[in-house]
Symmetry: C2
Subunit: 202 residues, 2 copies
């Protein structure tokens, strides 16, 4: 049993900063944490399962979901991706905090839909390190790298809605910081379930 | 080197809840954390050293410090105890977060003097457990125990300025929660040193 009311956790940061690795680690080691599952119109890749990796839907279904059932959505290379509200609601209801690995625009939409969401932005130790990581990942095209580094600068500048800034200079250290933020937020007075306080005469 | 601007941490909670043990553990295992040292008019006990356990001063010195040099003070059994502002300022200046084990009235004064202070309130798992702990500690007089339990109820009710509530049902678990809160607060955007963000083009 947990004392606190479950909440969404938005994790954003520039491409190449290590978000996906960090989110995978968090979810793997915390029973009270699940990752949000996106809805998409793209075709499943080998081994991808609907309801596990994504909810795969046809274009017309996505179109109908857009305004009422998705917290946010975006088009990327002609494919649609969105965050279904129902999945989040159900997981919160069943006692799980829900982590969303999402870009800033999406993160801001989640915050509007769930004002109690925790907003965490992951920073690279420096722009040089970010550039290096993009190269190691296989982005060899100079123009692509330049564009990504510029996008990163823009994202960092636009991250004002994010309450926490975690520098990923070391994966273990960044993971510990993220885990600490989640644990700390579970202790925030406004998140403590009223029933947990009531027996103490409050 | 730390990214964040150092801050005071106020830890309060009813008598018998385990504050002192928890604060000792925190300070022993975190190089960036020191405990505030109080000024008092009481006589040093065997082994107590001025500047380590307390700053021991004469009554007339305390009287002169009261309004200008102490963040808060109180009289207990005819002895005066207070929190010197200069010690906190110096420790913050040299890069340490400063933890204060203090009652609610004192904690609220610290928050007024240092608006960026983190406020943590330690709760017993239940009033029955608190009562039991007071008995184990050697408070055998029923009237004293009744008075302490009533005081605890009052403290809990009056803890509205405290952002975090940590239930001490298990020392290790409570210690982890406190450590997480401090670590999380070090990642809060408003505490990050501007110079640390500047190089990222922000």
């Amino acid at each position: 049993m947990r004392n606190s009311v479950p909440f969404p956790i938005v994790i954003s940061g520039p491409s190449g900063v290590g978000k996906t690795t960090l989110v995978d680690r968090l979810v793997a080691s915390d029973d009270l944490l699940v990752e949000s599952i996106s809805t998409t119109t793209r075709v499943p890749r080998e081994g991808e399962v609907s309801g596990v990796h994504y909810f795969f839907v046809e274009r017309d279904v996505f179109e109908r979901m857009k305004d009422r059932e998705l917290v946010e959505w975006a088009e990327v290379h002609g494919m649609f991706y969105g965050t279904p509200r129902r999945f989040i609601d159900q997981e919160l209801e069943s006692g799980h905090d829900v982590v969303l690995n999402i870009d800033i625009q999406g993160g801001n939409s989640v915050k509007r839909a769930f004002p109690d969401a925790v907003m965490i932005f992951i920073l690279p130790p420096s722009m040089d390190v970010l550039e290096e990581r993009l190269r190691i990942r296989g982005d060899v095209d100079e123009a692509v790298i330049r564009r990504r580094v510029e996008a990163a600068r823009g994202e960092i500048t636009g991250s004002n809605n994010y309450s926490y800034l975690v520098v990923n200079d070391d994966l273990d250290r960044a993971e510990t910081a993220l885990r600490s933020i989640i644990e700390a937020e579970r202790c925030r007075r406004e998140r403590i379930h009223p029933a947990a306080l009531k027996q103490l005469g409050k």
